[in-house]
C-alpha cells in the first residue's frame, strides 16, 4: 500500500531516484527529496516515534522542524529531525527513546501510569528514604534522554567562514521574496536565506486548491535570478541574532557568520495546534503539515479528514486536501460567524459541511491510528457544550486555528513586541535600528498584504542604508478576520489534551502548576518545563500563554512571553566549533629541538623542550644528566620564549624606574640588572633582566607567559605618562639561548673575537659582538649558577648560531638541556620562578625580593601598596630548605603543605633531588616566625607522611657565586 500521489506540480521529490532505507529494522523505499517522515507516511507508517514522558505514539505534527517526538537515530547521527532532514540512501533509522521500536515500544505502559505522574512529580517523590535516591536516579537515567551517542564517531571539522552583505532577508516566503527583490533592485547586496530545502514558503504549499500562488513563486524566482546582487540560499538557517547584526547562517556543511548592515526578518509564523483530548494521535496534524505532505512530497496525508479551523487557512487546507482525493468529513470552525471571505463559499460549493462555533472535544485512536473525532458546539466562553456531540469517522484531523510569529531573531535583536488583539498574536512594536520585519511575523497574513509588506521592508532597509529607493508609500490593509483564535483550547476531564508535545504536558498540568504558585510565565515554564524541549516551545509557548492568561484573568499581553534564546533550531557542535584552530608559537630553533628528540611541554602559547629523549633512558636520568653536563662541562638551552623588549628614548631610564621596582637611571651602558614588576596592589607579577645598551637604549626580558601582557601594560602606562620613549616588542625578532657551564667560555671563544676575559666581560655585563658571524647581544647571566652567556641574535640567524655552538662545543661535551634541567639548576641556586614560587597574592617581601624594591624612588607601580602592606609585615616568607636523608618515594612534592601544630603554616613551592648536592632541596612558604636558619619544620607528603625539613640559606649551591662570577 502506498499513499504516494501521482505527480504534483512543484513537488520536491525526484521520482526517478528511489531511496532505500530502514526504520526500526523494516525496509522501506522513498524518493530523493523525501524526508524520513514523508517517506514513511507515504508507506502508511503512522507511528514515527514515541513521546518523551508517556511514550505515546506520535506521527506527523508540523513537518516544519518541530516534530521532536519523531526524532530518529541514524548511526552516529542522533536526534535527527525526521520531519525535515533529507532522506539518504541506505539510512538505517531507529526511533529514539523506545524499548523495542516506535510501534511496539514496551514503555508505553507509562501512558497508563500518567495519573501517578502529575506535573513536577519528580520533585515530590524519590527522595525518601534518602538512601534510595541513588537507585531512583539510576532508573531516571535509564529513562531519560533521547538519542544515543556513538563514542566512535569521528571528530567532524567544518570550514566556518565570514561573510558580509548589505541586507540579510530571513525567510523566502512571499514577504521575504518581495523584500529581497525590493532591496536588490535598489542596488543592495542581499543575502536571502530560508531553512527549507527550497524557497517559496507558503506559496509552495498553502494553495487553497489553486495554482496561483505557486505561479507567483515561479515569477519571483525568475525576477531574483535577474539580480546578480541577490544571493539566494535555501537550506540555510539563520540560527540567532547577536549584537550589531551578527548572524550565524547554518547549512548542512558549515556555519557562515554573516555581518549584514541591515536585517529583514520575514520568517513567517509557526502554525499552532488546537488543544483537545488526544490531539496527539497519529493522524492529527497541523493543516500546514498536511499541505506540506501534499505539495512537497506528494503524499496523501489521510483518506478522510476532519478540518478544525478558526481562520481562512483551514478552508484553504480543506480545498487542497479535497483536490487530492481526501474526503472531508466536515469543517469545524471555532468562530461563531465562520469564515468571512469567499473561501467559505468555495468550500460549501464543493460540498463540505461547515459547522460554525464548533470545536473538537476529543479524537479517538484505535491501534495507534486516528479513527474518529467528536465535535461539539462551543459556547461564548470557549467551553465545549457536551450535550450534543457529533462523532465523525476519520483517519485524519487537520488543525488550523492560529499562528505564532517566528520572532526569535527579533527578540534577540531587542525588539519589543505587543499582543495585538486584531490578529491575536504578538507583533513587533518597536524595532532596533537596521532591523525590519514583514509578513506573518509582522502580523500580516493576506497574501497581497504580505507581498506589499515585504516590498515595504525591502525598500525601507535599502533606504536605511542610503540606497536610492523609489518614493512610494505603502499601506497594508488590516486583516479581515484574526488569523489566530484567542482560545483554541478545549478542556476535558480525562486530560491528554496536549499543550506541549515535546514535554508531554497537557492542559491540567498548567492548572496544577498555577495552583502550586507557579502562576507567572517564567515560573510556569520552569516548573512545567513548557517550551524547554528541543523545539523550544515553537508549538507550545503561545497556548501556554493563553492558558495562563485565562487562569489569571488577564490578557496574553499582560502575561508576556519568555525569553527567546538562541538557537532558533539546534546547531551541531561540529558547525559551531569549525576547524578548531589552536594558536601556538615556535621559536626559530624549533626544528633543531625536534631533531634532537625534544619532548615538548606547553608554556603559555609556546612549546618548549622539557628534556631531550634518549633511547633506553628514563626522564629522571636524562634530566639529571642534562643538569650534570651544565655543572661539569657546558649546556645549551633555548630561552627564546622569554619576552624581549627594546626601549628607546631620552626618558627610557625614567620609564623603567616607574614600571619596575629597582633603579635604572644610573646603570652604565654595558651592564644588566635584575628587575621585578608589581601590580598596583603590590603583588609580584613578572621579572626579567634589564640591559642598558646605550644612554637612550635599553633591552629587557620578561617571563615567557608575561611578554604579551607586560608589553600591553607598558604601552598603557606610557599612553598616560607621555614620556619620550619608544617600546618595541621584539620577542619574536630575537632568538635567545643560554650557553652555560664551566666550559662555556672555551666554546664561545671559538666563535667570536670578543674579549671574553673576566676583566673585559665581567659577570652581569652586556656586550655586543658577532657570534658565528651573526651580530649578537651577549649577557653574562647566572640563572643556572655557572659561567653563562645568554646570547640574543636575530631570529633568522638563530639556527646558524645554535649549530655553530653545538659544533664548537662538541669536544667539550656540550649538551642541549630542557626546561626541567633548568628548573633544577636554578633551584640549586635558590632562584625563584614567578608563578611557581610566587602566586597571585605574593608580595615582594614574602618572596625575599626586598632587596630589589627601592621605595626611596618617588614612584613605581605598586609602591604605595608595598608601603601599606609593610606596616603589617609579611604573612609568610619564602625560605630555602633541605631534607635530611630520605628516599625519593617519600619525598614531598611541590604544593605539599607545611604543617605546624596541626595547622597549615605554608607550602612547598619547589623541590627537587639535587645530584650535585646529594640531597633534596627546595623552597617553601612558611609562617614569618619559622624562618630561623636550621630550624626544623614538617611537610605533609603523600599519604599523610610527615617529613622533616630544615630551613637553610640559599643559594644551596655555590653560595658565593664563584662559579658564575669568576672562572678562569
Amino acid at each position: 500500500m502506498s499513499s504516494r500521489l501521482p505527480p504534483v506540480t512543484g513537488e520536491w521529490i525526484d521520482r526517478s531516484r528511489g531511496v532505500d532505507f530502514t526504520f526500526d529494522g523494516r525496509a522501506y523505499r522513498g524518493c530523493a527529496g523525501d524526508t524520513p517522515a514523508s517517506a514513511l507516511w507515504a508507506a502508511d507508517v503512522h507511528v514515527l516515534g514515541r513521546s518523551f514522558k508517556y511514550h505515546r505514539p506520535r506521527g506527523v505534527l508540523s513537518l516544519a522542524n518541530h516534530d521532536v517526538n519523531t526524532m530518529m537515530q541514524a548511526g552516529a547521527r542522533l536526534n535527527l529531525r525526521a520531519d525535515v532532514e533529507p532522506l539518504e540512501q541506505g539510512m538505517a533509522l531507529t526511533s529514539v527513546n523506545t524499548a523495542g521500536g516506535a510501534s511496539g515500544d514496551r514503555l508505553r505502559i507509562l501512558n497508563a501510569l500518567g495519573g501517578f505522574l502529575p506535573v513536577g512529580f519528580y520533585y515530590k517523590a524519590f527522595h525518601r528514604p534518602k538512601a534510595l535516591f541513588p537507585f531512583w536516579e539510576r532508573v531516571f537515567r535509564r529513562m531519560t534522554g533521547l538519542g544515543t551517542l556513538d563514542f566512535g564517531a569521528p571528530h567532524i571539522r567544518t570550514p566556518k567562514r565570514y561573510d558580509f552583505c548589505d541586507v540579510l532577508v530571513v525567510g523566502a516566503g512571499p514577504a521575504g521574496l518581495h523584500a529581497a527583490l525590493a532591496a536588490g533592485r535598489a542596488g543592495a547586496k542581499v543575502v536571502l536565506v530560508d531553512e527549507n530545502a527550497r524557497i517559496g514558503g507558503s506559496l509552495g504549499y498553502q494553495r487553497g486548491g489553486s495554482i496561483e500562488g505557486f505561479e507567483m513563486l515561479r515569477d519571483l524566482e525568475r525576477d531574483l535570478a535577474d539580480l546578480p546582487n541577490v544571493s539566494v540560499r535555501p537550506g540555510t538557517l539563520a540560527a540567532g541574532y547577536y549584537a550589531d547584526h551578527w548572524i550565524p547562517l547554518v547549512d548542512a556543511q558549515r556555519m557562515t557568520k554573516l555581518r549584514p548592515r541591515a536585517v529583514i526578518v520575514a520568517g513567517g509564523a509557526f502554525e499552532q495546534p488546537a488543544v483537545f483530548r488526544n490531539n496527539d494521535a497519529p493522524g492529527v496534524m497541523l493543516a500546514s503539515a498536511a499541505q506540506r505532505l501534499l505539495y512537497r512530497y506528494a503524499v496523501k496525508p489521510m483518506d478522510k479528514a476532519l478540518v478544525l479551523t478558526a481562520n481562512a487557512d483551514g478552508y484553504r487546507a480543506a480545498l487542497d486536501l479535497m483536490a487530492h482525493g481526501v474526503a472531508i468529513a466536515a469543517v469545524a470552525d471555532l468562530r461563531a460567524d465562520g469564515e468571512p471571505s469567499a473561501l467559505s463559499m468555495r468550500v460549501k460549493q464543493v460540498g463540505i459541511p461547515v459547522l460554525k462555533s464548533h470545536c473538537v472535544l476529543e479524537a479517538e485512536a484505535v491501534g495507534d491510528r486516528l479513527v474518529a473525532a467528536t465535535v461539539c458546539p462551543t459556547g461564548a466562553d470557549g467551553k465545549p457544550d457536551t450535550a450534543s456531540p457529533q462523532k465523525f469517522a476519520c483517519d485524519g484531523l487537520v488543525m488550523s486555528v492560529g499562528w505564532a510569529p517566528a520572532a526569535a531573531l527579533l527578540y534577540q535583536a531587542g525588539a519589543s513586541m505587543r499582543y495585538d488583539t486584531t490578529t491575536h498574536q504578538f507583533v513587533p512594536e518597536r524595532l532596533p535600528a537596521g532591523v525590519f520585519a514583514c509578513g506573518r511575523v509582522n502580523g500580516v497574513y493576506a497574501l497581497d498584504s504580505r507581498c506589499e509588506d515585504g516590498e515595504r521592508a525591502g525598500t525601507e532597509a535599502a533606504r536605511h542604508l542610503g540606497f536610492d529607493t523609489p518614493e512610494r508609500s505603502f499601506s497594508i490593509a488590516p486583516e479581515r478576520s484574526p488569523p489566530s483564535h484567542p482560545w483554541p483550547i478545549v478542556e476535558h476531564p480525562a486530560g491528554k489534551n496536549f499543550v506541549d508535545f515535546d514535554e508531554d504536558l497537557h492542559l491540567r498540568d498548567f492548572h496544577n502548576a498555577a495552583q502550586e504558585g507557579f502562576d507567572n510565565i517564567e515560573l510556569m515554564k520552569r516548573y512545567t518545563t513548557v517550551g524547554m524541549g528541543p523545539s523550544q516551545g515553537k508549538h507550545s509557548n503561545m497556548n501556554a500563554i493563553r492558558v495562563l492568561a485565562r487562569i489569571r484573568g488577564v490578557s496574553p499581553g499582560e502575561v508576556g512571553t519568555t525569553t527567546a534564546r538562541p538557537f532558533f533550531h539546534p546547531v551541531p557542535l561540529s558547525h559551531l566549533a569549525g576547524r578548531g584552530f589552536n594558536v601556538h608559537r615556535e621559536t626559530p630553533l624549533h626544528s633543531r629541538h625536534d631533531g634532537l628528540g625534544a619532548v615538548w611541554m606547553q608554556a603559555g602559547v609556546w612549546l618548549r623542550p622539557e628534556y631531550y629523549a634518549l633511547p633506553g633512558k628514563r626522564k629522571s636520568e636524562i634530566v639529571r644528566d642534562e643538569a650534570r653536563a651544565v655543572r661539569d662541562a657546558v649546556g645549551l638551552i633555548d630561552v627564546g620564549t622569554l619576552g624581549k623588549m627594546e626601549l628607546y628614548g631620552p626618558d627610557a631610564g625614567a620609564f623603567l624606574e616607574r614600571v619596575y621596582t629597582a633603579k635604572f637611571s644610573g646603570m652604565k651602558p654595558g651592564t644588566t640588572r635584575y628587575a621585578v614588576m608589581l601590580d598596583e596592589s603590590g603583588v609580584v607579577i613578572d621579572d626579567g633582566v634589564v640591559a642598558r645598551l646605550s644612554e637612550q637604549h635599553f633591552y629587557f626580558t620578561t617571563t615567557t607567559t608575561g611578554s604579551t601582557t607586560v608589553y600591553r601594560e607598558l604601552q598603557r602606562w606610557n599612553a598616560q605618562w607621555n614620556l619620550e620613549v619608544g617600546i618595541v616588542n621584539a620577542t619574536g625578532a630575537f632568538a635567545a639561548m643560554n650557553l652555560a657551564g664551566p666550559k662555556a667560555r672555551a666554546v664561545l671563544r671559538k666563535l667570536t673575537s670578543l674579549d671574553l676575559s673576566n676583566e673585559a666581560f665581567p659577570y652581569l655585563a652586556l656586550r655586543e659582538a658577532d657570534v658565528a658571524g651573526v651580530p649578537a647581544r651577549l649577557m653574562r647571566v647566572g640563572f643556572v649558577g655557572e659561567l653563562g652567556y645568554e646570547i640574543h641574535v636575530p631570529a633568522d640567524r638563530a639556527a646558524r648560531v645554535w649549530d655553530a655552538l653545538m659544533e664548537a662545543g662538541q669536544d667539550d661535551g656540550i649538551r642541549p638541556f630542557g626546561v626541567e634541567a633548568q628548573r633544577l639548576l636554578r633551584l640549586e641556586k635558590g632562584h625563584i620562578i614567578i608563578g611557581q614560587d610566587t602566586d597571585g597574592l605574593t608580595q615582594p617581601d614574602e618572596a625575599g625580593l626586598e632587596w630589589a624594591v627601592k621605595v626611596d624612588k618617588p614612584f613605581f607601580v605598586g609602591k604605595r601598596s608595598v608601603e601599606i602592606v609593610r606596616k603589617n609585615g609579611p604573612r609568610q616568607k619564602l625560605v630555602g630548605f633541605e631534607l635530611d636523608a630520605i628516599g625519593a618515594s617519600t619525598a614531598p612534592r611541590e604544593c605539599h603543605l607545611v604543617v605546624r601544630n596541626g595547622a597549615i603554616a605554608g607550602r612547598v613551592t619547589s623541590i627537587a633531588w639535587s645530584d650535585t648536592l646529594g640531597k633534596h632541596v627546595g623552597l617553601a612558604f612558611v609562617a614569618p616566625d619559622m624562618t630561623e636558619l636550621n630550624s626544623p619544620f614538617f611537610i605533609r607528603a603523600d599519604g599523610g607522611t610527615m617529613v622533616q625539613a630544615r630551613v637553610v640559606p640559599t643559594p644551596f649551591y655555590d653560595a658565593e657565586g664563584l662559579r658564575q662570577k669568576v672562572v678562569d
Binding site: P159, K160, R161, Y162, D163, F164, K257, R259, R579, F581, V583, H584, R585, E586, T587, P588, H590, S591, E646, Y648, G649, P650, L693, S694, Q696, H697, E724, G726, V728, A730, T731, G732, A733, F734, G773, V774, P794, A795, D796, R797, A799, R800
Partner: protein, 227 residues
Amino acid sequence: MAAALRSSPLAHALATLHPEWIEVAGMPLASKLRDDRPDRSAKLGICDLSALPRIGLKGPGAADWLSARGVPVPDQPNTWSALEGGGAVARLARTEFLVEDGFSGKAVARLAPDLKPGSPGVYPVPRQDCALALTGELVNELLVQTCNVDFTAQTRDARVVTLTLMVGVSVTVLQQRLAGTDCWRLWCDGTSGPYLWETLTGIAAELGGGAVGFASAFPDAQLQNLQ
C-alpha cells in the same frame, strides 16, 4: 644552500615540500616546489616571501626620517605607498612603518645602515617576519575562512593596510601587484609563522590550492635581480 646566513621562519615547513632554493638577501627562497602545478597559483597559491629585505621603525620622528631619505611616506594611517622595484612602505597605524623591497628594489639596503638607535623620535623595529603572498582567484575564500574583515570592500588602488587578527595571529595585510601578479601580502611575527602557514596551506589545499614556489606565483619576476 647550507651556506646561507639567514633562514625563513618557514624554512622547516618548506623543506618538507622538496623545494628548489634560490638565495635572496642571504636567505633561501623556495623558487619551485616538487609538487608545484601551474594552475595552483592561479587558483590559490601561498608563497613564502620572508626573504625580501625589510626594515621597520616607529616613533614621532619616523615619518620625517623616511621623507628625509626620499622615501614616499603614506600620509594616512593604515595606507601604503609603492617603492621602486615593487616594494612598499606601509604605515602601520599612526607612527610605525614597514619598508619592504620588491624583487628588484634597493631601498632597504640604502636605509638600513642609517637606522640605528639615537635619532630622536625614531625607534628601529626589528622585522623578523613571516611574509607571505597569496595569489589566485580563491584568495578571498581563504580570507573569509580565516579573518573577520571584509577584504572585498578594499580596492587595490586605495592602498589600504589592514592590521587585524587572522586565525588568532596578529597580521598586516595589503593588496599589491608584485612582479606582474596581483596578490595579497601578509606579514606576521616569525614565531607565529609556522602555525599560520600550516593553517593557511591546509585550508588552501581543501580549496584546490596550497603552497607554491616563488617562480610559480610570480612567473614574470626577474629572478636574477634578486641575487
